[in-house]
Symmetry: C2
Subunit: 478 residues, 2 copies
């Protein structure tokens, strides 16, 4: 397969807002209409009133009677990383790899993405823009009552289609136990006339990226899949044989709000890739992470009542039993646990031009659910409550992010976490350009990387964490 | 750092047998002399007679009183891979990342490797060629009685040296629980006059590779470090500005016993790298590996006596308590457990020229101690006892390997496993060139890859298993 051609077709779609089917206003109206037509009722209930969910007497873990979906287990953690060396906590355990898949199709020379307006109970605004397919392994292997997820067959019979992106990517390491999803983008070839079901629409990548600049509009699953897209390094707007659309991209080297065209420049990084691998090998050798699954009932400093599972100081998050009623012509009801964070969070990359190439200040971070000790995280990643408590400057670069001059903010949007597991969680996502006088000595677990280097890590499993991927997905070229 | 220059300096050393300090005859005599001068006595004893090692009453696990070194734990395994879906077994647990490090130095334009003639109790022939440094984390962080490993400081104060290779690589997934070592090669710069202690010598990479063609001479630790070396793709022998030595390499495209010059050719693979990643994502999604550490005493079908821990059918391996006495001017004595395999094993890559580029037939294989479900393994990897029992043809490509015409064998040597943990274990390592009529349909977990593609996977953690790395290290260019 000609990968360079694929990369350029992604780039071309990212530079396109003109959509044969629906323009930006139309997309927003379509999403609003979906919001209005649906009624979602989420009520906090008691664990004892849950249907099918129960605390297993043997270990106190919260699980579904079918053995499917997920369970809330306990985790005991020992590490030589950070200030707290040992703790236990509840953790979401879902030991299957699910599909997050997008179908694309070239129409009139532009790559279109088949996106879904999807309701999730935990979403602040109910409906968000989702991939074509979100399916757990239970969904697609042990299909009940013939209710197969829409478009599933396109991803199972991949021989007929081109696989453009196909990677296993991690979920939140602080909440999930080694959870991963398969992020996959396929391109349907030729005459295959993909049906467009209700709540689905063909969008350009440029439209999706513009929608990311509106709070809580593009869901986390879409963002992680989009983050994996590689782009050709042809200067945008030059077009040439690929007939790139005549938009007026930011000139390379410039940087506007929400725009980062010049990161496309394929330039030499401050460190070469082998040096970065060595930095990472050194940290993975130095820092240890020993985790052990323990019964939920044995988790220390956490309280289990009939209403919630919470930390005794109400920090971090709590697990809530809820009943969900979705009224969308038909009425669907179920109960499930949702995780509610104690505060909003902040994810921010500091970006800086070094020798005319944009570099990202990347943090290597240990989180208890990580498969491989540490993953590459944004410059700052924290719960806001945490940094309000500990204004002692212990969190590197937090001051730079919080006190940034407005002129240096390139992206600043609230983004939702996955509404199937998290209750109304939104995190502030920021891209910030450092000034010329930003010349900090980096702590040992920080390093400058180019976008191309981050993209290479993205190809391999469990290098970039979901917070950093969410930020990379927001990079916009027009 | 100029990586291409480094790759070519590795290649140049691999093409060099002329050593200013010691020629091939000299190396063999030196190793023989080390063998003769040492007396190693390994006696099978009883667990109850071990010093410092004990079965912990709480879980029956076998461990050292210091809490250091390693322990023998139990593992319970569930998987949807292979014929046996559920079992438990003893496993070596050593949750630290150790150093396997080689110091190199350029002398008269040739890169020399500082190698050690090292005694290990489990070695068949006692002394084998080892890296400059083999050190567990306990060795280098909690140093006892001032006995710091030789050359350790070169690897800790890396700022003064060039890091040429630095990767975390896995150990045997069937025996170790997620064990890894840090494989590192540094180059000492300029005037730093590295002392050469007793039992150490400077060798060229060409010499090391030639020694690999003698049974049980180059230890596993050396082989895994060497396997990580990338080579420049300049046609060997052309020299040019890099002044490559005037050896007469195998012509590109040819293939002699122990020689594989043409794999250097940087040609297009049958599959591109993204296709291989997609193949791997598909398998990792399909196959599940659920492991749980359990008390050793609860491992089913295994018997613990005072003499050994063994499978009730005497299959797989057994754990033996031994006393070791090494007399090498001073006498050193200790006791430890060693793992003795039930039979010799076989590791073989089938190699085939496809469109004039050599491709390796790579197997994705689940092993219970793997960090990430499956790793890339040789075409055939098994215990010989296993295939003698099950001559039903269930093991793919075994017949091709066992019935190969002698003219197609490119490498065939017995190689030892790590003598610090394994008792006289040797495995047959083979590289076999498939005939033109070899046109098998591949099982879903097999794929053809070029050497360049394998080298790329090698840079990232936990992709190539130790058996495939051992075979790659044997590839010789002269």
């Amino acid at each position: 397969m000609d990968r360079e051609k694929i990369r350029l077709s992604f780039l071309k779609s990212a530079l396109t807002l003109d959509n044969t089917f629906i323009d930006m206003e139309g997309v927003k109206q379509w999403l609003n209409k979906q919001q209005e037509e649906v009624s979602v009722k989420v009520d906090k209930i008691r664990f004892s009133d849950m249907d099918q969910w129960f605390f297993d007497l043997t270990d106190g873990n919260l699980r579904h009677k079918s053995g499917q979906f997920f369970s809330i287990d306990g985790l005991h953690v020992k590490t030589n990383w950070g200030l707290v060396k040992e703790w236990s906590q509840p953790i979401i355990n879902q030991p299957e790899i699910g599909f997050l898949g997008i179908i694309t199709r070239e129409i009139d020379g532009i790559l279109y993405f088949l996106m879904q307006a999807k309701i999730e109970p935990g979403n602040i605004n109910h409906v968000q823009l989702s991939p074509t397919l979100q399916a757990t392994k239970s969904n697609y292997t042990r299909v009940h009552q013939g209710r197969k997820p829409l478009y599933l067959d396109y991803f199972l019979s991949r021989d007929r289609h081109r696989v453009l992106v196909d990677q296993l990517q991690s979920e939140q390491g602080g909440r999930f136990y080694k959870k991963r999803n398969r992020n996959i983008i396929i391109r349907v070839e030729g005459d295959d006339d993909v049906p467009v079901y209700e709540n689905f629409a063909w969008l350009t990548l440029g439209q999706i990226k513009k929608l990311m600049q509106i709070d809580n509009t593009v869901n986390m699953d879409t963002r992680t899949v989009i983050s994996a897209i590689p782009y050709g390094d042809a200067p945008p707007g030059t077009g040439g044989s690929l007939d790139l659309p005549k938009v007026s991209p930011t000139a390379p080297g410039e940087f506007k709000k929400g725009m980062l065209a010049s990161t496309l420049i394929s330039g030499k990084g401050l460190f070469d890739f082998d040096e970065i691998l060595s930095w990472l090998a050194d940290l993975k050798t130095k820092y240890e992470l020993h985790v052990e699954k323990i019964p939920l009932k044995n988790v220390k400093n956490w309280v289990i009542t009939d209403q919630q599972i919470h930390h005794e100081d109400n920090k971090y998050f709590r697990i809530l039993p809820v009943s969900v009623e979705i009224d969308n012509r038909e009425v669907t009801r179920w109960t499930q646990p949702l995780l509610e964070p104690a505060q909003e969070g902040l994810s921010a990359f500091i970006v800086k031009k070094i020798d005319d190439v944009y570099h990202f200040l990347v943090q290597a971070k240990v989180e208890c659910g990580n498969l491989d000790i540490l993953e590459l995280a944004p410059t700052v990643q924290c719960l806001t409550g945490n940094y309000r408590d500990t204004k002692t400057g212990t969190l590197p670069f937090l001051d730079e992010v919080l006190n940034v001059e407005p002129g240096r903010v390139r992206f600043d949007t609230l983004q939702s976490e996955e509404g199937g597991r998290f209750f109304r969680e939104q995190n502030r996502n920021m891209l910030i350009e450092a000034g010329d006088n930003f010349n900090e000595t980096l702590p040992e677990n920080y390093i400058w990387m180019t976008l191309a280097q981050l993209n290479t890590f993205l190809k391999f499993n469990n290098y970039l964490n979901i917070q950093s991927r969410s930020l990379l997905s927001a990079i916009d070229f027009i």
